[in-house]
């Protein structure tokens, strides 16, 4: 299952790092962050709980950029 979320982040490099952090989160098969459109596309592993996974994705991203936001 793929879903796209609006994100808020200020620097392009942070966006790249967020993509990596999201991809390494459990329950995420792949992640793609588009800095210009401020969108994050997440492909969930089968059976993953979307809310739960997104919470840990946000946590992982906050470690990189404390100010970032993900709408989910």
């Amino acid at each position: 299952m793929k879903k796209t979320y609006n994100i808020e982040v200020d620097c392009a490099n942070c966006a790249n790092l967020m993509e990596k952090a999201a991809a390494n989160t459990e329950g995420v098969l792949s992640a793609n962050v588009n800095f210009m459109l401020l969108k994050m596309e997440i492909e969930f592993a089968p059976g993953a709980d979307e809310k739960k996974v997104m919470k840990s994705v946000l946590k992982a991203c906050r470690r990189i950029e404390p100010d970032c936001e993900i709408d989910f």
């Binding site: 200020d10 620097c11 392009a12 490099n13 942070c14 790249n16 793609n32 588009n34 800095f35 210009m36 459109l37 401020l38 969108k39 596309e41 470690r63 990189i64 950029e65 404390p66 100010d67």
Partner: protein
């Protein structure tokens, strides 16, 4: 400017004012430090806070940390050497934040221009019901409903005109400023603007499948497919910062140690200063921001011109196109037949056309339509009788008391007319009057006005070879190929043979270049996906083409191809320029610093300056001329 940006601007201005004030105040000793550090905190507390959080989270090499380390280090050094030069640290932070603000404004601005581009989404539809007109949202309208569109309104859904005539402005979709005339029975496309007359339209597609929706979906998901450059830059950024930091550490430790071992003075402060200067240059921001920004701007510029590209990778690929393979029908030609020449024998040209058109008056075959169109006048049906359509041969009829046969050579033989030996045209339509040969008409697919011009311009834009593929016979293929000016052509191909032909060219082209296939998206989906870049032309309303192609030209004018190639070339040129320029400045700066030829002022100017120039250069991609 949003709230965050305004806040930052305020802090920058306050810091700047305070710094200038401090320059003129004769304070010394500890008070001097306290004053400068206070000003420093105004601009830098945010970055210090983030750096602190980063350390807690185990992330050492982010730019906040680097900037904090460099500036705090500069403060420490100024105290240690008793120079009292705290200005440097404040200035570095100030310029760094100015750079960040500028970057954020530039990105915001380009986001906005893309958003304006996407302003084709219709927000309401006027539904015709038994109780009069009702305004609803386009999502609520169902297939088969009738909607009313007043002049000046956006067409909310795809449909067919039932009543009324108008011209519609398609420029938001196609970039073509010439309005298109529509009348009863014509299709209209959502996203266009109705200009002159009121229209009553029967909806043919639900909102989710309408053209405007498809386009918006395409535009907003574009640029999530990343180009090689973007992948390179994010890999580069990941290693660049740690390496520069490592170098900085080495610079702070090794030379003083060597000096000490050699028995001289260590010179800790000099080398520490150089190391701190290294940290200022270690931020990869200019590169990281400028590449995706250029592509984003390039994609935006393309969509503005009616060229939808599904990702930066395809924009990049398009710029490397060496072979361009075209489908014939609908791409280079209009896909409509017309009479190209009439060769009468013993009758006038007008007579020949009249007899042929009258005999074909009841037929709806494309060739018959083209004959009637060429004749151009009204046909008096009463004068025509005994019409017989003979499958695979033609038509016979009695027109004004004359027995007319219109068809191929077989029919001529049957009606006893002898075709003169010197006539060998393959796709001629022969005409016999009362059994004697009266001449022939050449019917052919019309070449688009701009096809040949586009070929010339493509060559100029760097395409090495153009090839035309068609299922038509050799003669016809040769004629079109010559008229258009393609380098090669292949005729008589079935759809799967077109794939094979493309595969053959894929092997022929040089390894790093790209083969693009251009088709109209009808029956050539397999070829579109087999080529490196599949371009679908005139794809308004054709879902299959939008699915299969990588690049979608909204208009069916081949000149748009030239625009697409040019935009991609310029955009990639800008990206190249930015990468080379930023790297060159950064490495020069690092080298100068290592040898003590620069200072922190120079470093921060280089860092922020490069970023600003790179961003300005990237924004140029928005304004590429067609």
């Amino acid at each position: 400017m949003n709230k965050k940006q305004k806040k930052l601007l305020c802090r920058i201005l306050i810091t700047f004012a305070l710094t200038v004030l401090l320059l003129f105040l004769p304070i010394s000793g500890i008070y001097r430090f306290v004053c400068y550090f206070g000003v420093y905190l105004v601009i830098g507390f945010d970055i210090l806070r983030k750096a602190g959080k980063g350390i807690l989270n185990g992330r050492v090499f982010d730019e906040n940390f680097l900037m904090s380390a460099a500036t705090l280090g500069a403060f420490a050094l100024a105290i240690y050497t008793k120079s009292g030069d705290y200005l440097e640290a404040v200035a570095v932070m100030l310029f760094y934040c100015t750079g960040e603000l500028f970057q954020s404004l530039a990105v915001g601005k380009s986001r906005k221009s893309i958003a304006a581009l996407m302003d084709i989404r219709p927000d309401r539809a006027t539904l015709k019901t038994e109780n009069g007109a009702v305004t609803v949202s386009p999502q609520e309208v169902r297939v088969g409903d009738i909607i009313l569109i007043d002049p000046g309104e956006k067409i909310p859904l795809d449909g067919v005109v039932l009543k009324g005539a108008s011209s519609v402005n398609t420029s938001a979709l196609t970039g073509e400023s010439l309005p298109r005339d529509v009348g009863e029975g014509d299709e209209v496309i959502s996203g266009c603007v109705n200009m002159t007359g009121a229209l009553e339209v029967r909806v043919t597609k639900p909102y989710e499948e309408s053209t405007v929706c498809k386009i918006l979906e395409l535009v907003s998901s574009a640029s999530s497919k990343k180009s090689r450059f973007e992948a390179f830059i994010s890999r580069f950024a990941r290693i660049y910062t740690p390496i520069v930091c490592g170098c900085a550490a080495a610079l702070a430790v090794i030379p003083p140690a060597v000096n000490m071992l050699a028995g001289g003075e260590a010179g800790f402060d000099i080398w520490l200063y150089r190391a701190l200067t290294f940290l200022v240059v270690s931020c990869p921001c200019a590169l990281v921001i400028s590449v995706p920004l250029s592509f984003f701007a390039g994609l935006g510029c393309a969509s503005k011109n009616g060229i939808l590209i599904k990702g930066s990778n395809y924009l990049e690929a398009l710029s490397k196109t060496e072979y361009m393979v075209f489908d014939k029908t609908g791409t280079l030609t209009k896909g409509e037949f017309s009479v190209v020449s009439a060769v009468p024998l013993g009758v006038s040209e007008d007579e020949l056309l009249r007899f042929a058109a009258c005999a074909e008056c009841a037929s709806s075959h494309p060739i018959a339509v083209s004959l009637k169109k060429a004749y151009g006048k009204n046909i008096n049906r009463d004068a025509v009788c005994n019409i017989r359509e003979l499958a695979g041969r033609g038509v016979t009829a009695r027109v004004d008391g004359v027995n007319v046969s219109v068809g191929n050579s077989k029919l001529m033989a049957e009606s006893g007319a002898e075709i003169p030996l010197d006539i060998r045209e393959g796709n001629a339509v022969h005409v016999a009057l009362d059994g004697s040969y009266a001449g022939y008409l050449l019917v052919s697919d019309t070449v688009k006005e701009n096809s040949s011009k586009a070929m010339g311009l493509l060559k100029k834009a760097g395409i090495k070879k153009t090839v035309m593929l068609t299922g038509d016979n050799y003669n016809e293929a040769q004629r079109v190929s010559q008229a258009v000016g393609t380098d090669e052509f292949q005729s008589g191909l079935l759809p799967h043979q077109k794939v094979e032909a493309v595969e053959k060219y894929l092997l022929q082209k040089s390894k790093r270049s790209v083969l693009a296939f251009v088709g109209d998206g009808i029956n050539d989906a397999p070829v579109l996906s087999r080529a490196d870049v599949g371009v679908a032309m005139g794809a308004i309303g054709s879902d299959a083409a939008i699915e299969a192609a990588d690049v979608v030209l909204m208009d069916d004018d081949p000149i748009q191809l030239v625009s697409a190639v040019k935009i991609s070339g310029k955009c990639v040129g800008i990206v190249h320029g930015n990468i080379i320029f930023s790297l060159a400045v950064k490495f020069t700066c690092l080298a100068l610093t290592a040898f003590g030829l620069s200072n922190m002022w120079f470093a921060i100017f280089a860092d922020v300056g490069v970023m600003i120039l790179a961003v300005l250069n990237a924004l140029r991609a928005f304004r590429i001329k067609k």
